[in-house]
Amino acid sequence: MASITDFSGGHSGRETQWMLHFLISLTIVVVAGGYAVWQIMTLGHAAFNTTNAGIFWGLPIVLYDYFLLTSTGLVMVAAIYHVLGVEAFRPVAKRCLGLALAGLMGGVAVLFLELSNPLMALWATPLNMQTQSPLFWKILLVGAYTVLLAIVLFNSIKQPTVRPNPLVWPLALLALAITLVAGSVYGMMAMRPMWFGGEIPVVFLIESLVGALAFTMVFSHLAHGFRHDRMSDELRWLFEGPLARLFGALIALHFLLHAGRAVTGWWSNAEGLQVWDHMLSGPLFYIGLGVCTLVPLVLMLLPATRSNGLAQVTSGLLVMIGLFIARYEFIIGGQQVPLFKGSWVQTQLIEYTPSMTEWALLGLGIGIANMVYGFAAWKLGGEDEA
């Protein structure tokens, strides 16, 4: 008989699992979101630790970009089956699209609480046509992406078997464009040398893809009660073969790009790049690049661990955390060197620690993403059976 702990593929066992997933996420949303909304309602933006001293974009923007890029990466992974026709990726195609929408919802919710006039953005952006602004393109592209992703998922829910969907073509192109534009938002800022550079959109693309594979690994195992042996043969083959190899290759690329930028930034004497010295003198950088990138890379390089379920889940989780640290250090670090801000900014670098409200937004984003995903899997058949 199926029970709560029975994830073996029994229909009611899976249903119970996703129901629990939904309810736990809902609780997180109520607690974390309730606290954040209450703080924002009573204190306004004073509930955040961003100030006019120079850190204008804090943890909520880190979260938004993290969720958004994970979402676009997941669509690109789904496109490996839907667009490129690689049959091996069919077992995870539906899951990737579901996770993409869930992540997007979490990120957009956080952004809406951070922006002071988010609804105005919906009309003021398209009506004013500031085509020079990367943010103009990002807002338009994300709008189109959200609508198309919802349509694609609605279609897939109605169809029990996964078949190539031609709508994923434009969806994947939108995902690619959003990822590159999101990188340009920072990469075009010549006045902030820490961010500036043509390689930043490429860095974002690699991070988006590696993050998507990490989420695919963790959630595919979650769907099977973290039991590798309970996966279907085709899914297990994918995870032990092409997906694990691709994951390893992308982690290596991510490591090289990140370490390369750190070394050149640390070596350079240019004004504005001293933030690399600061980052390299703290533990977070080494946790992000060493523990959360090198360890999974080694695990995915060694044949024995590459095909091991526990090693895959560990690698996935570490990469998820490592990417979050990298995004945090990148966005905050780029603002730490004071410009001509004011006579009160006398420090070499501006300090920033997220407030409790900002951390609560992390809980809210994770909660909403998991709630959407859990509900779709529980009630709408939004999960791959494989």
Binding site: G44, H45, A46, F48, N49, T50, T51, N52, A53, G54, F56, W57, L115, S116, N117, P118, M120, A121, A124, T125, N128, M129, Q130, Q132, S133, P134, L135, F136, K138, I139, V185, M189, A190, M191, R192, N269, E271, Q274, Q335, V337, P338, L339, F340, K341, G342, S343, W344, Q348
Partner: protein, 254 residues
């Protein structure tokens, strides 16, 4: 059509902050969040100490990065004056302009104050959007939210307007706005008007006869951070001495 610009003579400036105070009074600014400020830099320890200062308004760039990045065109260049303004009715509070301004001269009011005590709390605003109600509030007839003039509301970004509400009343075709000229005194930006040692000059950069053009040419006016390509319309006269602003990295370690 004038192209208004400013010249600041660093050899004459005493760092008294009268400009900062006048700007705050004229434009209903929150203490500490100064559209115009004088930044102080110190290197070394007493007695081997070097103190320098830099008056810093918005540079009113000709090629402003804050305008290029604004997704809603809330930040725009005013055609008649060349002044960069913010339309508070269109600003979504994304703060991209704050990130993109190389000179750090944009402000968002609803966060924790950068200096204590919190004056906003002492003079609370009314209604949904008013952050505070300063006792030295600008007369309502001058306020224009579509140009970012008046008491800054919640959720939007603000910046120096070159006292747009004053300079647009100046007689047509005038070359300079000078506090010593009774004809133009009233229309001179507040920071220029109160500068006791007369370190600030304001005029039309497109007018070859203007005093600001003469000063820039004769005394070698320089602009900050030329490498960004923003092309400020604020020029500094430094007497040809050391760089205007020490970079963080070029400072002597104390």
């Amino acid at each position: 059509m004038a192209k208004w610009g400013m010249v600041i003579d660093l050899e004459t400036c005493t760092g008294c902050q009268a400009c900062t105070t006048a700007c705050a009074m004229e434009n209903s600014r929150l203490p500490g969040e100064n559209w115009q400020d004088v930044l102080f830099y110190s290197e070394g320890d007493y007695p081997h100490l070097n103190v320098s200062w830099l008056p810093r308004p918005c540079m009113q760039c000709e090629n402003p990065s804050c305008v290029s990045v604004c997704p809603t065109k809330a930040t725009f260049v005013d055609e008649g004056t060349g002044v960069v303004l913010v339309d508070w009715n269109k600003c979504i509070g994304c703060k991209y302009c704050m990130v993109a301004c190389p000179y750090g001269v944009r402000f968002y009011m609803d966060e924790a104050p950068v200096v204590e005590p919190d004056v906003k709390a002492a003079f609370p605003g009314e209604g949904r959007r008013q952050v505070w109600n300063p006792p030295f509030r600008m007369p309502d007839e001058y306020a224009d939210p579509s140009k970012g003039i008046g008491v800054q509301p919640k959720g939007v970004v603000s910046k120096c307007t070159f006292c747009h509400h004053k300079i647009t009343q100046a007689p047509e075709g005038v070359a300079d706005l000078d506090e010593d000229d009774p004809e133009t005194r009233e229309f001179t930006p507040a920071c220029v008007r109160v500068c006791a040692p007369k370190a600030r000059f304001f005029g039309d950069l497109d007018n070859p006869e203007s005093n600001v053009n003469r000063l820039i040419a004769e005394k070698g006016g320089v602009r900050l951070k030329e490498e960004t390509g923003n092309r400020p319309k604020v020029y500094y006269l430094s007497g040809g001495g050391s760089p205007v602003v020490p970079g963080q990295r070029s400072k002597r370690r104390s």
